[in-house]
């Protein structure tokens, strides 16, 4: 009888359905909204009804007397509270002054959400109005209201970056363009609204059911806020109904819920309404951006000068720090010898921005890629050729210190252009502009650079893994990485299968409990596949080595001659089945010193903290993408219809084709919303459209045809060669749409979004 042979099977690059999809498709997944603890109370928050005012008095007596109300708190009841946020410039419950309409004044815990809501209506607050400040251009004017004593000039944060000498660059320029770009408020619109459940155990330990994207960082922050040991805080992350960066910072509702749980001694649940989600969760950073760029006659870029003003809003969250990412696009997407960048974030009484997929890069790319088209036209080059001439190449180290070890930028450009027939169509549509008819076609191109190998922003950019092998060859992967719908749990399981030769259903992923999972810096910066993936591979390789060494003893072969395939130990050279993996593990399990719990970590990726001048190789790898947009503009109505998006992404290597397509398609449509339909209207500090009727998300009939190509540059540091991709697909869309509208109509619009009204006005040169 001939020996049984086992072929090597790889899951890498295949279309692997998300592990949690079956339970989600049958409605069984329990999100935070679906969790109720015994004895739980429900909380609601009273928010300011004034934009900017002194609080003269708060009377909670009637609310506290309402049957079913357990506790009403104001700042006076929680003297222990401490400032939160990036600048530590707000208290969860405001003391004597409110600075925006969302400001938290009081909170109620009651038997039901309805009773809590009713109690809010019984709280009496008297205010004395203060002069409002709603235009960031006025924040530094003499006599402007000062919003925080700590910032007498209303400046919340500044960033300066320079390389070369822009004056020299300008002197060398044959063409110079300058424009002001204006980027609006949009918000995450996670389908699952924000929520939290806080419960104190009799020991004083706190368990928090939270949607956070950064559980380990928040443990520390909550501990500081409560003045307790971080070791006494456990954060459990139920499945999250969408993240996109919205859950990277602590927002006041979380500490408020904790205070209520502490006061009442009961579990307290606080869940937003959709209106509250619009009003009291972060936005994307709005930006006023002035860009001046130059080029020589031969098409070489010479310099960029960037001045941006960020409306910081009333308090400081991550939005203020988006310049970290924006400056990378100005300095390093293309080769620019001279760059001068300055950003100021100034306080106003407006909503405040947080982190949002792309983190400033949508705004920066919107400006840079429009200038690339304008300069190409002045130089007299095709916009594609102009980009190719200035595009980064593998091996480049930019003046900002970014080192592009793998770089498929030029491939992205050429593939997206070829597959969309960009060059010919651009000429054709430009020629057709003057033909009769109100519907004009246009095609536009834009590219992006983004971190793809983590981002060394925090002291560590690491992630830990615990890998447990049982005596039936089942693998439990315990990872610090958070799953927010993006599919990290599936990719991490695939990577483990690749090393251990086990089927996907032999892997369970545990990723949602800080008492169990090892440390991780959080799900942000498109880092999870790269960082947590490398960490998981590290643990799996240790396990593999241990198994093969043990198998070598039993089989009298060298470990190097053995392989793990399809749940079996085989001889590498011919795949001959030697023994089932489960049998080997069982014998190991019951031997001395089996140690089948393996730990690994990926502290640190080979990246650098930036210096004070923001120079340094901040990521271990960088992602590149080009997207070409084809659209129609109805010049009679201003309506823009997106027909097709051709995308080429340097993703290092495709790990899960289904998952990565899903990230890119979802990002494209999110970018489409940013460009065309989404607009959080903030007028005099008031959000005018806090609902899905008036805040227009893209719907199924409006999506474009999507043609997606992958450039697989096999990054040397990436897990199986992969790089991060989560944020990339949203970044280019608005810029590509702007360039396509210009191609269709000859009119360049520098403010978002491209609503029918704005396009119509621009076409008639009556832009407001």
């Amino acid at each position: 009888m001939s020996p049984v042979t086992v072929a090597r099977q790889s899951l890498i690059g295949r279309r692997i359905p998300k592990l949690d999809a079956p339970e989600k498709a049958s409605g069984q997944t329990r999100y935070i909204q679906d969790i109720d603890l015994p004895g739980q109370l429900h909380a609601k928050i009273l928010r300011s009804s004034r934009l900017h005012a002194r609080i003269l008095s708060i009377d909670t007596a009637k609310a506290a007397a309402l049957p079913g109300v357990h506790c009403v708190i104001t700042a006076a009841d929680v003297p222990e509270q401490r400032p939160i946020g990036v600048n530590k410039d707000q208290l969860p419950l405001k003391t004597d002054r409110v600075r925006s309409y969302r400001d938290e004044i009081a909170a109620v815990a009651a038997e039901s959400p309805e009773i809590a809501e009713a109690a809010l209506g019984l709280i009496e607050v008297t205010y004395e109005d203060l002069p409002p400040l709603v235009d960031p251009r006025l924040s530094k004017q003499p006599g402007a209201p000062i919003l925080h004593d700590r910032a007498a000039d209303n400046v919340a944060m500044t960033f300066t970056y320079q390389n070369g000498d822009v004056a020299e660059g300008e002197a060398e320029s044959d063409f110079v363009v300058e424009d002001e770009f204006s980027l609006h408020y949009v918000t995450h619109c996670c389908m699952g609204v924000s929520g939290v459940i806080a419960e104190f155990e009799p020991s004083g330990n706190l368990t928090l059911y939270s949607n956070t994207q950064v559980p380990f960082l928040h443990k520390r922050e909550f501990a500081e806020l409560l003045g307790i040991d971080p070791g006494r805080i456990r954060i459990i992350q139920p499945p999250i109904g969408g993240g996109f960066g919205s859950k990277l910072d602590i927002y006041p509702f979380e500490p408020i819920c904790i205070f209520l749980a502490k006061k009442t001694g009961r579990p307290v649940k606080l869940v937003f309404s959709r209106e509250e989600e619009f009003l009291a969760s972060p936005t994307r950073q709005p930006v006023i951006l002035r860009l001046r760029s130059g080029a020589r006659k031969d098409g070489t870029l010479t310099f960029r000068t960037v001045r941006t003003l960020h409306d910081n809003g009333a308090y400081t969250s991550w939005g203020a720090t988006t310049p970290f990412v924006m400056m990378q696009t100005f300095s390093s997407l293309y080769r620019v010898p001279h760059c001068d960048y300055f950003t100021e974030a100034v306080y106003t009484n407006n909503p405040y921005a947080g982190s949002f997929r792309g983190y400033g890069n949508l705004q920066a790319t919107f400006a840079v890629e429009q200038h690339m088209d304008k300069l190409a036209a002045l130089v007299g080059m095709d916009p594609l050729d102009f980009r190719l001439k200035n595009a980064q190449e593998p091996g480049e180290v930019t003046p900002q210190g970014m080192h592009f070890k793998s770089c498929g930028f030029k491939d992205c450009l050429t593939i997206a252009a070829r597959r969309s027939d960009y060059a010919d169509k651009r000429r054709q549509y430009e020629a057709e502009r003057r033909q009769p008819g109100t519907v004009k076609r246009g095609i536009g191109i834009a590219s992006m650079l983004h971190v793809g190998g983590g981002a060394k922003i925090y002291p560590s950019d690491g992630c830990g893994t615990i890998l447990k092998l049982d005596d039936f060859a089942h693998v439990t992967l315990i990872t610090g990485a958070s799953e927010i719908g993006q599919g990290s749990e599936t990719v991490l399981a695939q990577l483990v299968c690749e090393e251990l030769g086990v089927p996907l259903d032999a892997v369970t992923v545990v990723n949602n409990d800080t008492d169990i999972t090892p440390w991780d810096v959080g799900v942000h910066a498109s880092r999870t596949t790269f960082i947590a993936g490398n960490s998981a591979i590290g643990a799996a390789r240790k396990a593999r080595e241990k198994i093969l060494l043990a198998a070598a003893k039993v089989t009298n072969l060298a470990a190097e001659q053995l392989d793990l395939r399809q749940g079996a130990i085989v001889r590498s050279e011919d795949g001959q089945l030697l023994m089932p993996l489960a049998k080997m593990l069982r014998s190991l399990h019951f031997s001395d010193k089996a140690e089948l719990v393996i730990t690994s970590h990926y502290y640190e990726p080979p990246s650098q903290h930036q210096d004070k001048e923001f120079k340094g190789d901040v990521s271990a790898a960088y992602a590149w993408a080009t997207q070409v947009v084809e659209l129609e503009v109805d010049t009679a109505t201003g309506i823009v219809r997106l027909d097709k998006v051709t995308a080429a992404h340097d993703v290092g290597r495709v790990l899960n084709r289904l998952g990565i397509e899903g990230q890119i398609e979802g990002g494209i449509v999110m970018g489409q919303g940013y460009a065309l339909t989404e607009d959080l209207l903030v007028e005099e500090g008031v959000c005018r459209n806090p609902n899905f009727r008036d805040y227009k998300l893209v719907t199924a009939p409006e999506i474009p045809e999507m043609d997606i190509s992958f450039v697989e540059t096999q990054d040397g540091e990436g897990p199986q060669g992969a790089k991060g991709v989560g944020e990339a697909p949203a970044i280019c869309m608005a810029a590509a749409v702007a360039n396509a509208i210009e191609n269709a109509t000859g009119v360049r619009i520098t403010s978002l979004p491209f609503t029918p009204e704005r396009v119509y006005r621009a076409l008639r040169a009556i832009e407001d």
């Binding site: 279309r15 359905p17 998300k18 949690d20 999809a21 079956p22 989600k24 498709a25 049958s26 409605g27 069984q28 997944t29 329990r30 999100y31 909204q33 679906d34 995450h188 619109c189 996670c190 389908m191 699952g192 609204v193 499945p239 999250i240 109904g241 969408g242 993240g243 996109f244 309404s273 959709r274 927010i484 719908g485 993006q486 599919g487 289904l658 998952g659 397509e661 899903g662 398609e665 979802g666 990002g667 494209i668 449509v669 999110m670 609902n691 899905f692 009727r693 998300l697 893209v698 719907t699 199924a700 009939p701 999506i703 999507m706």
Partner: protein, 161 residues
């Protein structure tokens, strides 16, 4: 406490009798009284479709329907669709095509897609997109959801009973 009213209706094929406040929405009744949490709150004003249920075979946003209006009707939720073998190909198609990411919109999508296919088992791509227009998804960009439903429609909508 507002006025209570007793109602009887068929929920996922089972006769039910519950007492609900007259001001309560069908969504709140399903989630908070009957503990069927598959139906989601997304907006509370009929704009996002996360709370889609079927009432006498019509798709309804349960957040803008009063619970008392379920009286005497046939109500189907995602839990009913999930237990119904005829919709297994639809659920599997969503999974296989990658139409699920965070999954919060998914129950509403599945219920709505079942409704679209019930009306027209051979619905084409355009009809399916129109049929899902009232269901918002922030993760997937819709393409894979539409692909999943189109694949089931191409296969004849649903398996024979």
């Amino acid at each position: 406490m507002s006025l209570l009213r007793e109602i009887r209706f068929t929920l996922n094929g089972v006769a039910r009798q519950v007492s609900v406040p007259v001001t309560m929405t069908a969504l709140a009744m399903l989630r908070d009284v009957l503990h069927l949490t598959g139906t989601k709150y997304g907006c509370g004003e009929g704009e996002c479709g996360a709370c889609t249920i079927l009432v006498d075979g019509r798709s309804v946003n349960s957040c803008v329907m009063f619970a008392v209006d379920c009286d005497g009707r046939q109500v189907t939720t995602i839990e009913g669709i999930a237990a119904d073998a005829q919709w297994q190909p639809l659920r599997e198609s969503l999974v296989e095509h990658g139409g699920v990411q965070c999954g919060f919109c998914t129950p509403g999508m599945v219920v709505q897609a079942s409704h679209v296919l019930s009306r027209d088992p051979h619905a084409d791509r355009q009809a399916i997109k129109r049929g899902l227009e009232g269901n918002l998804c922030r993760c997937t960009g819709y393409k894979k959801i539409v692909d999943a439903v189109v694949a089931v429609a191409d296969a004849g909508g649903k398996v024979a009973p």
